[in-house]
Amino acid sequence: MPMSRRALAAAAVALVLPLSACGSGGDDGGSTDASGKVEGDITFQTWNLRANFKPYFEGLIADFEHQYPGTHVKWVDQPGEGYADKLSADAAGGTLPDVVNVSPDLAAPLAKAGLALDLDKAAAKYRPEYLDGAWASHRVPGMNGTYAFPWYLNTGPLFYNKALFTKAGLDPDQPPKTYDELFADGLRMAEKSDGKVATLANVPTIEDFGRYGVPLMNKQGTGFAFNDAKGVQLLTRYKQLYDAKALDPQALTATGESAGKKFLTGAVAMNPGSALDLGNFKKNAPSLYRNIGITDQITSTGHVNMYVMGLMVNSRTRHTPAAVAFAHFVTDARNQMSFAKKVAIFPSTAGSLDDPYFTKEDGTDETRVRIAAAKSLKNAVNYTPVLFSEQMKTALRNEVAKALQGKESPQEALDNAVKAADRLLQQG
């Protein structure tokens, strides 16, 4: 049966051809030279920004295309949840956009995989335009280079429910600033409400350890070190909160979203958030909105945690000059400043924070909060270790939960978390 054998071969080829396309990553990428003519079609991906800032980005893209005729920017936006998964799928499939919105911990694995353009080489001339600390935030330990343009910075406000503070006999205008004050207020609130109102809905994260003054990594940056005496002390005190129900009983399984809901319903008194949350409170919890207090992050080091957003240029872009020019255009002082006037974020460009917009009082609460945040930002620290992956976060979270439940001592729990994180670090 020669025919059927041929048919079989044809079917096999038909089967295999599309599959072979799935496997190829496509490493026929572009060059690191950004000095050529700025032209071509590029794709720009943001992280959950379309819903609130569509007109701003459309205007920005139109300005760029006007300034550089022959360019076309396609803008895509991805939801907040699952952003890392979307990036990894695109990176593995060879469909990563040309300019990508990243945070330092997302840029690190992409840089390690050779997918992020080294801007120390391709865009060194722009470096003086940015704050030194912000530029350095997208360096990766163990690699030479900077892998994203710094974009906006934020410290993230901490919201609190003034009515719950008053009910517990606490001064609603004096929210806790340090961990000592937080623990004291938390225990008092739990006691006064008979365990019905918790102060926090989340277990401590790596950033909490940083702001408590715990060294997160060893000096060489080769291993984690948050299991020292100070780290154990922080976890021990969190356990006291948990036992007293000052930490929500469901904190061990909480997500950012579920913690937000607890705050909305008045089950917890404090919750970190972003400026966008105010609109949500106004719409979904008017009584909370009337009693909302805004303060800075809790810190015992004098430094709040700085969240850094960046724009990474895909090293495999076919239009390196256009991609670099666009990433710089979005993050230059003028465009960052105009973005900062739309939402409570702060520019990472040198000198921008000295603008009267961030220094001059005009008597409104909004400006007061903005000026305070800009001030704290000047000595803020990015406490999230660049190499602290999702798997490491899960390991820490699980061990913290075991300590809070009393299944392990705080020392054992942190030793185990450090051991797991170190193992994952070594595995690359």
């Binding site: 049966m1 025919m3 059927s4 048919a7 079989l8 044809a10 079917a11 038909a14 089967l15 599309p18 599959l19 799935c22 890392a84 998964d85 990036l87 990894s88 990176a91 593995a92 997302l106 694995p109 992409l110 390690k112 995989a113 997918l115 929500d248 009983p249 469901q250 061990l252 399984t253 909480a254 997500t255 579920s258 319903t265 089950a267 992956s389 999702e390 798997q391 899960t394 979270r397 699980n398 061990e399 939960a401 075991k402 439940q405 299944k407 994952l424 595995q427 690359g428």
Partner: protein, 295 residues
């Protein structure tokens, strides 16, 4: 002579043409991922880093991984908790709605509704109901029992997720049983009734033997689905798998280990291979038990 030959050639080729779309789909979405997973399980591949061949290292590692044993325990408990309920309860439900009385279609539809509802929506509704300040806890507090940590206690969380799985699956298996019950000859029931058998006796001696093969089918289907449970536990216990990850199931562990920019694809593939092996073993066990009883 030429014309018949052409017809013959067309006949030989055409089955493949008809089969090609199906083959392509099966090849791309079943065979290729399966073979790829199998190959990856012997490598240390990560999401963005191509792996090297590491032999059985991943399988050796999972023997020493506490989270693997936690996942295996929870998935096994899920089978033990869910399967008996899904074999028996839908049968009772089917008997209830089998009767031809006015308005019974409404009840049949009502029992089937959870099956067509999105698991995400259903899961979130149950999370609201079972929350520390949810409806169920408010009721329990009103009657003096006090609040119960359905979503904060490791075991209650697992039980709550099982309850949702059973509640959602009842309608589906009820329909399967209804089809089986329609084939049970009415004369058998009538004969048993004439011999003095009551409803319970008739159920045990007539209904159960008549639908036994359907019960085996339901047991096989539900045990495989229960072992591979993901959505219910993920939604109710959170992405971390409950307090300290103690409610993590094997499939959740595969997802958590293998996804993200730093995902360990090789190790997650090894876990998937174990899930596959256990699933096949479960099927064989159920079928073997059935054959054993037949003899």
């Amino acid at each position: 002579m030429a014309a018949p030959l052409r017809i013959k050639r067309q006949l030989a080729f055409s089955p493949w043409l008809f089969a090609a779309p199906g083959l392509l789909v099966v090849g791309a979405f079943v065979l290729y991922p399966f073979v790829s997973t199998l190959v990856n399980s012997f490598t240390d591949r990560r999401t963005l880093v191509p792996g090297r061949f590491v032999g059985l290292a991943n399988f050796r590692e999972l023997l020493h991984d506490d989270m693997f044993w936690t996942g295996l325990r929870n998935s096994a408990l899920y089978v033990l908790g869910v399967v008996p309920a899904l074999v028996v309860l839908p049968l009772l439900l089917a008997l209830l709605v089998q009767k031809h009385i006015p308005g019974i279609t409404f009840f049949r539809s009502a029992f089937y509704t959870p099956v067509v509802a999105s698991i995400v929506v259903v899961g979130l509704i149950w999370v609201w109901l079972l929350d520390e300040r949810g409806l169920v806890n408010s009721l329990l507090e009103t009657v003096g029992i006090g609040r119960v940590g359905f979503l904060s206690d490791q075991w209650l969380l697992l039980l709550s997720a099982m309850a949702v799985t059973v509640w959602k699956g009842l309608g589906y298996y009820m329909i399967i049983y209804l089809a089986a019950l329609a084939n049970v000859p009415r004369e058998l029931h009538e004969a048993a009734a004439v011999d003095g058998a009551g409803p319970v006796r008739r159920f045990l001696s007539v209904t159960v033997p008549a639908v036994r093969s359907t019960m085996v089918l339901v047991a096989a289907l539900s045990s495989v689905a229960a072992f591979k449970v993901f959505s219910e536990v993920y939604l109710m216990a959170g992405p971390g798998g409950g307090p300290a990850g103690e409610d993590t199931t094997l499939v959740m562990l595969v997802q958590r280990t293998g996804t993200g920019l730093t995902g360990r694809v090789g190790y997650a593939s090894a876990l998937s291979v174990v899930v596959f092996a256990v699933t096949v073993a479960l099927m064989l066990l159920v079928l073997r038990a059935d054959r054993g009883e037949e003899r």
